[in-house]
Every structure is written in C-alpha cells, then in structure tokens.
C-alpha cells in the first residue's frame, strides 16, 4: 500500500495518469453519457453494482443475435458455438483468478448463491453439530445468513471475529477464536460497507494451520485488484459478475478440485448427471456436478467480456487509479464540516462510508441525486457492522475505474447543498 505517500493532484479535474486514460475509459461506458435530473451522471455506487462497458453489452447482444442456443449435448453447430462461448468463459475466469484448472470454476447466479452452495454442499459433507465456522464483523449478510441457516439445521457454532474502531479485522482475536473445532473460516477480502481490506493471506494461513478450510468472499476484491487463488491458497473464492462490470445473474465459485470432487451436489437436475435411472443417479464430475439446469449462458459470455476488458486495462493500473481517487476523496471529505468517515482502515478499497451531522443518509442520498450524484444510503446489507458503530446506516460513495477527481468534487459540491438545507 502506497496510499499515504502517493502525491496528490488535488487541483486536477480528473485523475489522469499516463498509464490510465480516464476519458477514454469513460467513453467505453455508454450510460455515463446520459444525464440525470439534467446533470452529468456521477455514478458512485459501483460497490452495489458496476456499470457496463460497450464490450460487455456487445458480447451479450452478439450472443443472442448470432450464437445463442442451449449449451452441452446439442449436436448442431449453433449449440456447439454457444458451448464454446460458455466453456471459454470458464477458462477466462480460471485465468482471471489463476486457478489451476477451469474445472475448478463453478458458475452460479451470484456470490450469494455461491456461498449458499458451499454452506449446503460442504456443510452436509463435512460439518457436524459442535463444529465451528468463523466469520467476521465485516461480513455482508450473504456471508452471515447461510451459516446461520446451517447452524439452525446442523447445530454448528458460529464465531465472529471482532474489528477495531477503524473497521480493521483483528488478527489476534481471530487467532484466539480458532480451535480444533474450527472447520471453516469464511471471511471477506474487502468490506462492502467500509472498504476495509482484510489481511486475507494471514487469515487463510492461520485457518490452514488449525486444519480448517478457508472461503474468501471476493465480491469487493475482484473489481479492484488482481486475485491469485493459488497464491492465496484459499479453498473457496466467490465473486459476482455484475460488480466486475459484467452482467447480473452470474456469479463464480472457485474451489480446489480435490475438495469440490469430495462434495455432493447442491441442486439436482439436468446437466449435473452421468447416468440417471429411477433407482440411482450417478453424478457428473466437476464443474457440471454443481451446475444443474440450463446455466446463465449469455451472462457467462458477458462476464468473460468484462474480464477481458478490465484485464486489458490492467488491474494494477486500475487499482493505482482508484487508490488515487480514494486518497483524494478521503482528504476532500475530511474537510466537510460535520462529516465523519466510518471505516478508516489503513488498507482500503475505493469505498468511503460516511455520516453527516444533522442529516440522515437517506436525505443525503436524495439531495445528492438531484445533483446527478448516485450514492447508496442505508445499512449496505451489513446491519451487525452498523450496530458495531452505533449507527443505523451511512451514505456510501464507492469508486469504480471510470470515476475521477471531478466526481469527488461533484460529491463534495452536492454535500454543500445538503448542508444548505439541513445546516
């Protein structure tokens, strides 16, 4: 992390670095040309869902216009073509995560369904009453509720790693929670509500040292930095397509091949079998075992186009650009009287959550919207975390690769209008 030492270009209208042509990037996103309430769209909600580059829109359209049919088993050319596209997308995702084998990539509906798949399949196979699953206070509801449901069904015990007032994951506390009963650690790589990056390498290493498996919720990491599942050595890694500039309706579960092969199917149906008789069904090998029914075909192809897009830009350059915007936003917002940034971890992704004195986050969101500035307001599907900070919610500005210093300026100008109304 070089955030603290990176020089600021506080007066520049946008963060244009030689390696990152922001204006050209913006030109790739058709929606950014539109106006909202007569104002330039300043989209600061990419952590909820990112906008789509033309390459993704075109890939999805091309799939439906020229190469669409159901995948697998079709003997005709069009089905073979669609299958190539779908399986090619799996290989693209495998390269994106640096998986050993594309069979380790399971397509799901989103990150939530990927976690639910693990909770059910891994849970049924490996967890018994009294076994412990470790999560953290930073988790999104999607990495809390599936484990609670499992707890209620199997009698497992859920342990929650605390955080400090900056919103940082407490490694020492985590280590104390680990025991021989710990079977799985399921922790986020990056907090969606605060932006905190967790010490995920250490978390995984310590889990393995106690003989536990490790699942990484990478929903907020994958859009911002290079992920290498072999270097992380995680057992599972999940992310969702729509946050990495791809379509909604597609998510990814990565799992180590041996582990996935030892797990039973989660859903039964077509495409996940080897043979079916009314007496007995033999399941297919991975990845098909976990992909019952017709999969999200065009969505997978769109996701591959999104990955190709961010990869061509270079995730290192994207990260450097976003970190510059984050630093600028943090400095400018700190100057707004009555504004409190919630989540001040040393290592953060480009997400800034804040509260404003005398103004509720929803009122902040409504007023900013009239300036064309789209932020999220509320608990960000992380109610325990909000409780931890004694607040009902925050306003959250999250920056994607198309955001620049001018967007931060628009946000700060909009906040001035909030203060005009609420004082």
């Amino acid at each position: 992390m070089t955030v603290a030492t990176r020089p600021l270009e506080a007066t520049a209208p946008a963060a244009n670095t030689p390696a990152f042509d922001l204006e050209r990037v913006r030109g790739d996103f058709p929606i950014l040309a539109r106006k909202v309430h007569g104002q330039r769209l300043v989209f600061l909600d990419s952590a909820a869902s990112a906008q789509k580059p033309r390459a993704v829109i075109d890939a999805v359209r091309h799939c439906y216009e020229a190469e669409y049919a159901n995948v697998h088993r079709g003997v005709y050319w069009l089905s073979a073509r669609a299958t190539q596209g779908y399986e090619g997308a799996r290989e693209t995702v495998a390269r994106f995560l640096n998986a050993r084998d594309s069979a380790e990539i399971i397509f799901t509906r989103n990150a939530t369904s990927a976690i639910n798949l693990v909770a059910n399949s891994f849970g049924n196979r490996f967890l018994r009453a009294g076994d412990e699953v470790v999560i953290s206070w930073l988790e999104h509801h999607s990495n809390i509720v599936p484990w609670q449901m499992l707890r209620d069904r199997l009698g497992i015990v859920l342990r929650v790693v605390p955080i400090n007032d900056a919103g940082e994951f407490l490694l020492g506390e985590y280590e104390r929670l680990l025991s021989s009963r710990t079977k799985l650690v399921a922790v986020t790589h990056t907090s969606n509500a605060l932006g905190t990056m967790t010490p995920i390498d250490e978390i995984i290493r310590l889990a393995h040292a106690r003989g536990a498996r490790a699942l990484v919720d990478g929903s907020q990491a994958a859009p911002h930095r290079q992920v290498d599942v072999q270097a992380l050595d995680c057992d599972f890694f999940v992310f969702t397509g729509h946050k990495v500039y791809g379509p909604s309706g597609i998510g990814v579960l990565y799992g180590k091949a041996d582990l996935l092969r030892s797990m039973p199917p989660f859903e039964g149906g077509g495409d996940m079998i080897r043979t079916v008789t009314f007496e007995k069904t033999e399941y297919a090998d991975i990845p098909n075992r976990f992909e019952a029914g017709t999969p999200p075909i065009a969505e997978a192809i769109g996701l591959a186009a999104a990955i190709d897009y961010v990869t061509a830009l270079g995730l290192d350059r994207v990260e450097a650009h976003e970190q510059a915007v984050l630093t600028y936003a943090t400095e400018r917002l700190a100057d707004v009287a009555g504004l409190r940034i919630v989540g001040t971890a040393r290592k953060k992704a480009s997400i800034v959550s804040f509260t404003l004195e005398n103004a509720h986050p929803h009122d902040v969101g409504t007023i900013l919207d009239r300036s064309g500035v789209a932020v999220r307001a509320g608990h960000h599907c992380a109610q325990p975390l909000m409780e931890r900070f004694g607040i009902a919610g925050t306003a959250r500005a999250s920056f994607g690769l198309y955001n620049g210093f001018d967007d931060v300026d628009a946000l700060v100008d909009g906040l001035r209008r909030v203060k005009e109304i609420f004082g």
Binding site: A359, H362, D363, I367, M386
Partner: protein, 156 residues
C-alpha cells in the same frame, strides 16, 4: 434546488429537528412498533385511548427527516380525534401519498397540515418514509402485537 425545497419545506425541517410529542405518554394503553428494514428506520407509536378518543399520543424512533417529520405531524393532527376519525385520516393520507387522490383544496380540511408532505410523491423511493408512522399508528389502533414492517406488508 427549488424542487428539493418542495420536498424539504421549512415545516418538515422544523418537525424533523424538533419533533412534537416525541415521548411515551405515561398512561399509554396502546402501542406498536414499525420498521423499514431497507433503511433501518424504526418508530414506535403510543396511544392513550379514552372513550374511543385519542386522548394522548406520542412516538419515539429514529429515521430520516421525512419519516420523523411525518410522525411528528401525525401526532399533532390525530390528538383529540376519535378512533374512526384517525382511521379515516390514515386512509386519506395513504391515498395522497400513493397518488390515488390529491388533498389539495377546500375538501382537504384536517389534511391541510399534511400538504407539506405532498412533495414526497415526486420521490417514489421515499414514500415509505412518510407512511411508516401512519401504518404503525394503524397497528396500534388495531392492537397488532407483531408490529409492522415496510417489507412485510404490501400496503406499506
């Protein structure tokens, strides 16, 4: 900015900053809780019903300016009304907020005080903020023990 001032009128800002009847009356004999799980807003409405009338009313909770002002204005307007009148006011306010009717003009009567909230109709995402306290009032009048939630009740 002018349209924002239609939403955030002075009366609304005043009621949100200094809500009226923000308390639990000591002799309250009906109460209900309401919440909007999407934004975390919570409100509790307390009623003292005597001889079929709202002898006293109060509320507590936390929420945005719209929800706090709406709750405050509501307590002002229903104090002293009969239960039937309170229910009728709810129906008319609900229709006003959901665009089924407008309460502008002479026929509006008691609802005149609430026309300051009519700007909310232009912000569909915020209508539930304005109606949460009223639904909670109805739950209290109907002696519902389970409270109300904007996400569990289609009418909210």
């Amino acid at each position: 900015m002018s349209d924002l001032r239609d939403l955030y009128q002075e009366v609304i800002l005043d009621h949100s900053k200094q809500p009226r009847n923000f308390r639990r009356p000591g002799n309250a004999n009906r109460e209900a809780k309401g919440d909007n799980p999407l934004c975390g807003d919570k409100v509790a409405v307390f009623l003292t019903i005597e001889d079929g009338k709202v002898a006293d009313v109060g509320f507590q909770g936390r929420g945005c300016a719209i929800s706090m002002a709406s709750a405050s204005l509501m307590t002002d307007i229903i104090k002293g009304k009969t239960e039937a009148e309170a229910r009728s006011l709810f129906e008319r306010f609900h229709d006003e907020m959901t665009g089924k009717s407008a309460c502008h003009g002479a026929a509006a009567g008691e609802l005149d005080k609430l026309t300051v909230l009519s700007g909310v109709r232009e912000y569909p995402m915020r209508v539930k903020c304005a109606t949460l306290s009223w639904h909670t009032l109805m739950a209290a009048l109907n002696k519902r023990q389970d409270g109300v939630s904007t996400e569990a009740d289609d009418r909210l």
